[in-house]
């Protein structure tokens, strides 16, 4: 079985985003940016193909599977977003606040000028979350944010998500069902349809509901098979 994913949607504000997370048709390299190839409803009716991509990316933060800090100092990593967007206000305060929000401040406050690549993997990932928070996005997408991390770092990221979901809508893609059950309020199960004529594969949204419902009494047979571990 290929491309089985159990994304989880925390929809305090924008549940509609979930319907767009059909990534399977998008080339892997382009997938982050080719939002235009997806049909996503954002804030109701706005079809993304008519929206300035730069503006959309600025509103929807993204945390990648593999931590990807810039080869610059910790400070400059956070400051990059506010700088390119020309955000008003004190940059120092903004950096400090973002690092506080990402629960990284105490660990790095004495070495803000040090290179970000000297941080551990878990710290790098929290730095990337802080970087996303610094530009005050509406939604944060997390694409398997903990899959490259050890269990302790994973726990910290998950704790952080519980903190952040009070202020932000977080959309996380994960293959880890326990993780989905731990962090999500709402869960969507995606699968893939293989065309009979071999013309390709199509991502489909199988089921979208409250997390407890998905994991205890799913309405679709395929969801049930997946959450009970019959495949995947």
């Amino acid at each position: 079985m290929t491309q089985m994913e159990a994304p989880r949607i925390d929809s305090s504000r924008i549940a509609e985003v979930s319907h767009g997370l059909d990534r399977s048709e998008v080339e892997s390299r382009e997938r982050v940016f080719s939002v235009r190839d997806l049909s996503v409803a954002y804030h109701g009716n706005v079809a993304l193909e008519n929206v300035e991509l730069v503006e959309i990316r600025r509103r929807i933060g993204m945390v990648f599977q593999k931590p990807n800090p810039f080869p610059k100092s910790i400070y400059d990593n956070i400051a990059f977003g506010p700088r390119v967007l020309g955000m008003k206000g004190s940059l120092d305060e903004r950096v400090e606040q973002a690092l506080h929000q990402a629960a990284l401040w105490d660990e790095v406050k004495d070495r803000l000028k040090d290179g970000a690549l000297g941080l551990s993997g878990g710290q790098q990932q929290r730095l990337c979350i802080a970087r996303a928070l610094a530009v005050e996005p509406d939604v944060i997408l997390m694409d398997e944010p903990a899959s490259a991390l050890d269990p302790i770092s994973t726990t910290r990221i998950e704790d952080l998500m519980h903190e952040l979901k009070r202020d932000y809508t977080i959309v996380i893609v994960t293959h880890n069902m326990q993780q989905a059950a731990r962090v999500a309020d709402m869960t969507a199960f995606f699968s893939v349809d293989v065309e009979e004529d071999g013309s390709g594969r199509r991502g489909i949204l199988v089921e979208y509901d409250a997390t407890t419902k998905i994991f205890t009494t799913p309405s679709d047979k395929r969801t049930e098979d997946y959450v009970t571990g019959r495949f995947g």
Partner: protein
């Protein structure tokens, strides 16, 4: 139960062990052929030129008497040429590389044609650029046989090298950095200017300086565009000039053996200039080591 020691352990080396040593020896001798020759050449130049390596050579003006001749105009002109090449080739080369790597659509045939031809241009003999320069720069737009013309032609000679080196450096920047920057709402230009370019500076600097030291050592195109041999005054941007390699070449043609010594001494000066530029390249590479 006893374990028998294999007899081969006690005996002498087997054939494959000998073969191992043989090839090691073969590779070592190849290295000596390559570097031994070079070392001999260098040593010979140093020994021949040493007596004439004086302040007069660096600061004096050329003369028909070997004992009074210096190479100041040639040395100055070579430094000017180097500077001009740097000023022209780096911005043009780097921007071309950025366009080809970050903006050009490979689906379009003209972009592919440019890509293929930049590789070819790097292989074109320098004398061909000299002819081109003579026709278009010296006579065509009427710059004349001046330092500026020489600088422009040497820029053409090394531009493909700068472009190729810069492209390599830009391509080595991981996509994850671009994606991270895009994800924060940066525009394409901001991603390139603030992330990709700074990250590729070490590679670009190294490649550019190596190209520059090639330009400084070029003789053929400069002869074509009239780096004249006897210049008894300091060169200026729009004045006639000679360059160090041209000066060396001309001194070796003189019948008086004193000039041969002088040529060797000037060669040492040229080597010193080129080697110190390479040293800067190595320094930059180590200083701004790749961080990913």
């Amino acid at each position: 139960m006893t374990t028998a020691v294999p007899t081969s352990l006690a005996g002498g080396p087997r054939r494959r062990v000998w073969r191992n040593r043989l090839f090691q020896l073969a590779m070592l001798s190849c290295m000596f052929v390559a570097f031994g020759t070079l070392a001999l050449l260098l040593a010979d130049t140093l020994i021949t030129g040493w007596p004439e390596l004086s302040r007069r050579l660096l600061t004096g003006l050329p003369s028909t008497v070997p004992g009074e001749a210096g190479a100041r105009p040639a040395i100055l002109a070579t430094l000017y040429l180097g500077l001009l090449v740097l000023v022209f080739s780096v911005p043009i080369g780097v921007l071309t590389a950025i366009y080809l790597e970050e903006y050009a659509n490979r689906e379009r045939w003209w972009n592919r044609a440019i890509e293929v031809n930049i590789q070819n241009l790097a292989a074109v003999p320098a004398i061909v650029y000299g002819i081109l320069g003579l026709a278009f720069i010296v006579r065509g737009i009427g710059v004349g046989r001046v330092v500026l013309a020489g600088g422009l032609i040497l820029t053409l000679v090394v531009l493909p090298t700068v472009v190729v080196a810069s492209r390599e450096a830009i391509r080595a920047v991981p996509d994850s950095i671009r994606q991270g920057a895009f994800a924060l709402g940066a525009t394409k230009w901001q991603v390139v200017w603030r992330q990709v370019l700074p990250a590729s500076i070490p590679g670009i600097a190294t490649g550019s300086i190596l190209a520059l030291s090639r330009a400084v050592g070029e003789t053929a195109p400069l002869i074509m565009v009239g780096a004249i041999t006897y210049v008894a005054f300091n060169p200026s941007l729009f004045g006639p000039y000679t360059a160090l390699p041209v000066q060396i070449y001309n001194w070796t043609k003189q019948p008086d053996p004193g000039f041969q010594t002088l040529a060797a001494a000037a060669a040492i000066v040229l080597l010193a200039i080129v080697l110190s530029m390479n040293a800067v390249a190595i320094f930059l590479r180590n200083r701004y080591r790749k961080q990913w």
